[in-house]
Amino acid sequence: MKKVYSRPASLKQAPFHYCPGCGHSIIHRLVAELIDEMSLRGKAICIPPAGCAVLAYNYFDIDVCESAHGRGCAVATGFKRAQPDRFVFTYQGDGDMAAIGTAETIHAANRGELITSIFVNNAVYGMTGGQMAPTTMLGQKTTTSPYGRRPKIEGYPLLITNLIAQLNGAAYVVRTSLATPAKIMATKKALKKAFEIQLEGLGYTLVEVLSPCPTNWKMTPVEAFRYLEERMEKEYPLGVFKDITKD
């Protein structure tokens, strides 16, 4: 019988701790598949965030260095500058990327650091229990915006990906979603392109992935995937915001 589906070699034999319906497991798998397909295991260094995905080192069978909350792009800069021939990527959440680590993110992008950031946007602080994130949408209720996010009080959601697309150092900036199998495959394609651009040394690459958090959204996984497509994708339009191989 022909084997058509198996665990990527770059994923350890460990069950994911992520909640049912969480997007991290899907993204982990996509990344691991690409590391296998592109033969990157021997040169890959992953910088996970402080957040749910801090435990990425329990799953990825590659070299992993933890960073403090928000400092991923600075740590990745240190790695890449010290070892320019390695493949370095950060894996970050919305709080990590767009609140506490905004400066590190924007400046690494602007310097054109040859790293890839995988930015998982689920519009809440997941690990700490569903507090308001920089990407929480207007009207969205969280444990620290119980009346729904109000622009006059909590300000507006930060579309950091759109911001980064304006920077000269950024080579490839894209937003994808996990809402449907087709979009998941498009996410993999975007990740592959980002990895290739890093390896070619063209500039900073960023893949924002809209991802469901059923636990903190207080939804079933099915409801969460529907909300992802019907609500989040409206606020965070999918698309390629910069691609220097095309522009």
Binding site: R41, G42, K43, A44, I45, I47, V54, L55, Y57, F60, D61, I62, D63, V64, C65, E66, S67, A68, R71, A74, V75, A76, T77, G78, F79, K80, R81, A82, Q83, R86, F87, A103, E104, H107
Partner: protein, 349 residues
């Protein structure tokens, strides 16, 4: 050679090939020097967007197996504390230079020793220590900077060099020598891609409290080893001294001038200069002769190192304190007058 340049050149000679930093006075000559030299030796110089980013870049380079350093001054060192705590827990080697300025707050850019507590008590969160060296001449800045990289690799720890604006700006002739050839442990922890070996993890998140306790005790055993092996101090005219002045860094230079002055008047006064502030040279205090009846601690602060002096002497010798905080640099005459007053007050003759 200027103090800041001596730090930079010693780092280059020690094989430091990654420098990350952010401008802040009075230490800007260090990054300026490094920006020129790193290019010449094919190393990395990068001006980070903040001290926070810079220390985290150091972390990444250190985990790559490259000798890495950063430098800053007091407010900037405060910003680096998070990263220092991580580097200590991750057991990565790194050298951090603090050219201490007047504080607290924005303070001023004059020489100060107000950061003693921050430097020797960890500074960042969690139960860690870090070797802290306080050079008192340009030659010593050069020698100790070179040594700091070996200590960092030997114990896999951040190492701090604590100077001040005076140490950074002073110009003195020095002898540049090659790095001592010493055996260092293999860097079997570095992350450079899992090619032909199992993947590695560099992490400090240990959710199991038992394992975290184990990690803390492991660090403690390392710190105990440092306490035994690292203390350094200088003794000046201590043999017959009835009064011992204790000072470090710039304050020690001033105190030495004062000791020479009062000696010419026949006062039997000596100087004990701690070179390592952590681990503190406790043994040097235990070894003080019974002739020593009074210790005068002089600091360019309101009194921080005096706590360690009291711990080291355990009440066996009376301690007095004289301090000039906030960036004031006392002249040797001023310290000589203080010494003389205590001498007469206590009838030490």
């Amino acid at each position: 050679m200027k103090g800041t340049d001596a730090i930079g050149e010693a780092a280059i000679q020690a094989g430091c090939r990654c420098y990350f930093g952010y401008p802040i006075t009075p230490q800007n000559e260090v990054p300026e020097y490094m920006s020129r030299r790193m290019d010449e030796v094919g190393g990395v110089f990068l001006q980070g967007e903040s001290e926070i980013a810079s220390i985290n870049m150091v972390l990444g380079a250190a985990a790559s197996g490259v000798r890495a350093m950063t430098s800053s001054s007091s407010p900037g060192i405060s910003l680096k504390q998070e990263g220092l705590s991580f580097i200590a827990s991750l057991e990565l080697p790194a050298v951090i230079v603090n050219i201490n300025r007047g504080g607290p707050g924005l303070g001023n850019i004059a020489p100060s020793q107000g950061d003693y507590y921050q430097a020797t008590r960890g500074g960042g969160h969690g139960d860690y220590r870090m070797p802290v060296y306080a050079p008192a001449s340009v030659q010593e800045l050069y020698d100790i900077t070179m040594k700091a990289f070996d200590i960092a690799d030997m114990y896999r720890t951040p190492v701090m060099i604590l100077g001040d604006g005076m140490m950074g700006q002073i110009v003195e002739p020095i002898v540049m020598h090659k790095r001592a050839d010493i055996e260092l442990p293999p860097k079997d922890y570095i992350l450079n891609g899992a090619e032909g070996r199992p993947s590695r993890i560099v992490k400090s998140l240990i959710l199991d409290v038992r394992l975290m306790e184990e990690h803390n005790w492991k660090l403690k055993r390392k710190y105990d080893l440092m306490r035994n092996e690292l203390p350094m101090h200088e003794e000046f005219m201590l043999d017959d001294a009835r009064m011992v002045v204790v000072a470090y860094g710039t304050a020690a230079r001033i105190a030495k001038g004062a000791v020479k002055r009062v000696r010419s008047d026949g006062l039997k006064v000596g100087l004990l200069r701690p070179i390592t502030l952590w681990p503190f040279p406790d043994q040097a205090f235990a070894n003080l002769s019974k002739k020593a009846k009074l210790i005068l601690v002089f600091e360019m602060s309101t009194g921080q190192m005096i706590d360690d002096v009291r711990l080291a002497t355990q009440g066996r010798i009376e301690c007095e304190f004289y301090g000039r905080p906030g960036g004031v640099v006392a002249a040797p005459q001023e310290i000589a007058r203080i010494i003389e007053r205590h001498w007469l007050q206590r009838e030490l003759s």
